[in-house]
C-alpha cells in the first residue's frame, strides 16, 4: 500500500508534527481517504465471494443431475458424494443476496464513495466525526467475519432467503439452520450500526463543512445523492436493526413477534423488512445515479442537463421510496385493497427515474463525448438501468404481478437495477476516481475490454431471465426438472450459466487491472479528466487534510465548455471565469 503515501508539501508538514505508525496510518486511520480505501478493498473482496456463490448456484440450476466440479473439497454438509445438497443451495441463495446487498454494493457505494468524495467535493478537510468514521469501518470487520464463519457452523449458513421471511427464519426446527441464522442476524445488527454511524457523519459533514461559496445548489450531484442516501439510511436502517433483533429474540429466547402460535404475525416481519427494504433499493441506486451524472457531464464536456430537476428527482425518489414497500407484498396476504395505493405510488416513483434518464441523455446531446472506460460504464449504466426501470412496471401492475411474482422475471429485474445499475456505475466510479485515490491511472485498454465483456455477458445472463420468468420458473429452486412447465427452458438455463462464468471471469480482468495499476499504473496528474469539481483541484492523491488552502467556490459544479472560457473546455468550481479568461469577463 506504499503507493497511497501522499506526495506534496502539506503532507510533509503534517507528518513532521504527527509522526504516525503504520498501524495508525493504514489500519486505524481516521483519514476519510484511508477509510474509503479500506472499505474499497473490503467490498471488492466480498463482491468476489458473493459472485462465487452465484456461480455455484448457477451450476446447480443448469445441471441439477451432475456433480459439482471441485465439490469434493467442500464438507459433507454442503456437497455429499459430489452432489450439491438442497440445504446448501438455499444457503447459497440466501448468502449471495445478503453479501451482495450488505457487504458489497451498499458499503461500496456509501462506505467507499460517501467517505472519499463528500469531504473532497465540498472542500472540507475531513469528515465531521473522524473517529466515528473509523468505527463504522471496524464494525464491518466482525460483521464480515461472522458472515464467512456462518458457512462452517453446524447447520450451515442462513437459508431463508436474503429477505429472511418468518417463520422460516425464526424456527430452526423448520429451517434446519440455527447458528448460521444467528451469526447472520448479529452481522446484520453490526452492519446496521455501522451504516447509522456513517449516515450521521455524512449528513453532519454536508450540512456543516461546505467550503465558502459551496451553496446547496452548487453541490455536485454525487454529494446530493450521497446526502439524501444518508438520510434514507438513517431512517431505514434502525427499522431493520430493530426487526432483526426481534427476529433474533424469536429464534433464541422464545418471543413470538412473528410466530402465529404465540399471537405474532408473519406479515409483520414483511412490513418491517420492506419498510427498510424499499428505501434500501434507493440507497443502492441513488449514489450510483450521482456518480453517473458526474461522469457523463465530464465525459460529454457539458453541464448536467437539468441540474435542478436532477436534484428534485433525487429528493422525490427518496420521499416516495418510503411509501412503496407494499409492492413487495401484493401476493403476501396483505389486504388486497392496499394494492391500488401501492400500485399508484410505485408507478409514480418511475417518473423521477424517467426524468433522470432523459436528463442523462440530454447531457450527452450535442456534447463532445470522450469515451474513456468510466464514461463507457456510466453510459452503460443509463442503458441498463433503463431496462431495470421498465421491467419494474410489469410488477408494479398488481394483476401482472400475480403471475410474475417470485419468478425469474423478478430476478432479472433486480439484477438490471443492482448490477446493470449500481455495479456498472460503481465500475465507472472506480475507473474515474482511481487516479485520485491512488495517484495512478488504471489501464484504459484493459478497462475497455472489461467494459465490453461485462456488457455482453451481463446481458446474456440477465436478459434471458425475463423469458425464464415468463415461462413461470420460480425463484430459489434447487432443481426445476420436476416441473412440466419448465422443461422447455433448461437449455436457456445452461446458456445463462455459461454467460455467468464469462461475467465472473471478466471480473478478474478488472481485479488484475486494479491491483496492477495501484503499483505500476501511469502516474496521475491532479486532474486527469479535466473535470470541474473540487476533488480534482488538489493533488492525486490529496494530502492529509486535503487542501493546501481551503478552496472558495464561485459557481455550479459542472461548468464545461463555458463560452466565456477560451483556452480550455472546463472551469473548476474554485476558478472565476474573469480570472481564467479576462477578455471574456462580464460574469
Amino acid at each position: 500500500m506504499a503507493t497511497i503515501v501522499a506526495e506534496g508539501t502539506g503532507q510533509a508538514i503534517l507528518e513532521e508534527h504527527h509522526p504516525q505508525t503504520f498501524l495508525r496510518k493504514y489500519m486505524f486511520s481516521t483519514d476519510h481517504k484511508i477509510i474509503a480505501i479500506q472499505f474499497l478493498i473490503y467490498t471488492l473482496f466480498f463482491l468476489m465471494i458473493g459472485g462465487f456463490l452465484a456461480i455455484m448456484m448457477r451450476y446447480q440450476i443448469a445441471w441439477p443431475d451432475q456433480t459439482l466440479p471441485g465439490g469434493g473439497i467442500l464438507p459433507e454438509s454442503m456437497v455429499a458424494s459430489g452432489y450439491m445438497l438442497p440445504e446448501f443451495y438455499n444457503s447459497l441463495v440466501t448468502m449471495h443476496g445478503s453479501i451482495m446487498v450488505f457487504l458489497a454494493i451498499m458499503p461500496m457505494l456509501v462506505g467507499v464513495y460517501a467517505n472519499y468524495l463528500i469531504p473532497l467535493q465540498i472542500g472540507a478537510d475531513d469528515m465531521a466525526f473522524p473517529r466515528l468514521n473509523m468505527m463504522s469501518f471496524w464494525l464491518m470487520v466482525p460483521a464480515g467475519l461472522l458472515t464467512l464463519a456462518s458457512f462452517f457452523v453446524v447447520g450451515g449458513a442462513a437459508s431463508s432467503g436474503w429477505t429472511l421471511y418468518a417463520p422460516l427464519s425464526a424456527r430452526p426446527d423448520l429451517s434446519g439452520v440455527e447458528l448460521g441464522q444467528i451469526y447472520w442476524l448479529l452481522a446484520l445488527v453490526l452492519i446496521g450500526l455501522s451504516s447509522i454511524l456513517g449516515s450521521v457523519n455524512y449528513i453532519t459533514t454536508v450540512i456543516n463543512m461546505r467550503a465558502p461559496g459551496m451553496t446547496w445548489f452548487r453541490m455536485p450531484l454525487t454529494v446530493w445523492a450521497l446526502f439524501i442516501t444518508a438520510i434514507l439510511g438513517l431512517l431505514a436502517m434502525p427499522v431493520l436493526s430493530a426487526a432483526g433483533i426481534m427476529l433474533l429474540f424469536d429464534q433464541t429466547i422464545g418471543t413470538t413477534f412473528f410466530l402465529p402460535e404465540g399471537g405474532g404475525q408473519p406479515l409483520l416481519w414483511q412490513h418491517l423488512f420492506w419498510f427498510f427494504g424499499h428505501p434500501e433499493v434507493y440507497i443502492l441506486i441513488l449514489p450510483a445515479m450521482g456518480f453517473t451524472s458526474e461522469i457523463i457531464a465530464a465525459g460529454s464536456r457539458k453541464p448536467v442537463f437539468g441540474y435542478h430537476a436532477m436534484v428534485w428527482a433525487i429528493i422525490s425518489i427518496a420521499f416516495l421510496g418510503f411509501v412503496v414497500w407494499g409492492h413487495h407484498m401484493f401476493q403476501s396476504g396483505m389486504n388486497p385493497m392496499l394494492g391500488l395505493s401501492f400500485t399508484i405510488s410505485t408507478l409514480l416513483i418511475a417518473v423521477p427515474s424517467a426524468i433522470k434518464t432523459f436528463n442523462w441523455m440530454g447531457t450527452m446531446w450535442r456534447g463532445n463525448l470522450h469515451f474513456h472506460t468510466a464514461m463507457l460504464f456510466a453510459v452503460g449504466f443509463v442503458a441498463m438501468f433503463a431496462i431495470g426501470g421498465l421491467s419494474g412496471i410489469f410488477m408494479a401492475s398488481t394483476p401482472v404481478d400475480i403471475y410474475i411474482h417470485d419468478t425469474y422475471f423478478i430476478v432479472a429485474h433486480i439484477h438490471y437495477v443492482l448490477f446493470g445499475g449500481s455495479l456498472f456505475a460503481l465500475f465507472g466510479a472506480i475507473y474515474y476516481w482511481f487516479p485520485k485515490m491512488f495517484g495512478r491511472m488504471m489501464n484504459e485498454k484493459l478497462g475497455k475490454v472489461h467494459f465490453w465483456l461485462t456488457l455482453i455477458f451481463f446481458n446474456l445472463v440477465f436478459f434471458p431471465m425475463h423469458g425464464v420468468g415468463m415461462a413461470g420458473m420460480m425463484r430459489r429452486i434447487y432443481d426445476s426438472s420436476g416441473y412440466a412447465h419448465l422443461q422447455g427452458i433448461q437449455d436457456t438455463n445452461a446458456l445463462i450459466t455459461f454467460a455467468a462464468l464469462g461475467l465472473y471471469a471478466s471480473g478478474f480482468l478488472f481485479a488484475f487491472n486494479f491491483f496492477w495499476s495501484m503499483k505500476k499504473g501511469k502516474k496521475a496528474e491532479a486532474n486527469p479528466w479535466n473535470a470541474t469539481t473540487l476533488e480534482w483541484q488538489t493533488p492525486s492523491p490529496p494530502m492529509h487534510g486535503n487542501w493546501a488552502e481551503t478552496p472558495v467556490v464561485y459557481h455550479g459544479p459542472h461548468e464545461f465548455s463555458h463560452p466565456d472560457v477560451e483556452d480550455k473546455d472546463w472551469l473548476a468550481q474554485n476558478e472565476r471565469p474573469d480570472v481564467v479568461s479576462p477578455a471574456g469577463g462580464g460574469h
Partner: protein, 221 residues
Amino acid sequence: MDWSLPLNLSTQGVVIDRLFWIIAVLTGVAFILVEAGIIWFSIKYRRRDGQKAHYTHGSKKAEIIWTAVPAVILAVLGIYSGGVWADIRGASALPQDALTFNVVAKQFEWNITYPGSDGRIDTADDFVVRNQFHFPANEPVIVRLESEDVIHSFFVPELRVKQDAVPGMTIPIWFEATGTGEYQIACAELCGLGHYSMDAQVVIHDRADFDAWSAGQAAGN
C-alpha cells in the same frame, strides 16, 4: 425458450395476459427509444477535434414534457391495473356459493380438503387428499389457503394464480378454469430444503367427471 407466457387456462389469465402484453408494448417502445437514443448520441456526438460541446443547463420545456408524458401513461396504467385487480382480488370479487376447497400447505406437501357429496365445505362428508387437487372447469371455484408451518405460495402457472399461504391466516382466492387437463401446483415461496420439490398434481375435469371422481373418493374413504 420462445418468449411467451405458458398456455392460459383461466378467465383471470385472459385479462392478466392482456395487461402483460399492453405493458410489454409500452415498455418495449420506451426501451427502443431510449436505447436507440443512447446509441445514436454516442455515435453522433463522439469526440472530434475542434468540436465544441453545446453549452446549456437544460430546458424547462423538455423537463415538463418528459415529466408529464410518463406520468400520464403510468397513471392510466395504474388505474386500469387497479380495476383489473379489484375484479380478481377485490372484497366483492369473491363469487357467492362457488365450490370451495381448503388447501393447507405444510413442509413439503399440499393437503386439499374437498367439499364431498353435499358440495359444501366444513361439513361431515368432507374428505382430504394429499398432493392432488381435482376441480371442475367452467365454473368459479374458491380456494381457502392456509399453512401449518412456514410461508408457502400456491402457484399454478396455467391458471395465472399465485397466492402466499401464511400460517395464522386463511386467505380465500378464486379462479375459473376454461379447460380441462393435468397440471401442477408449484410452491413459489422459499419454504425450506424441500421447497424445490413441493409440487402437487392438478386435475381439471368437466363437471360430470369431477362429481364422479369425488363420489369415488368419498366411497373409498
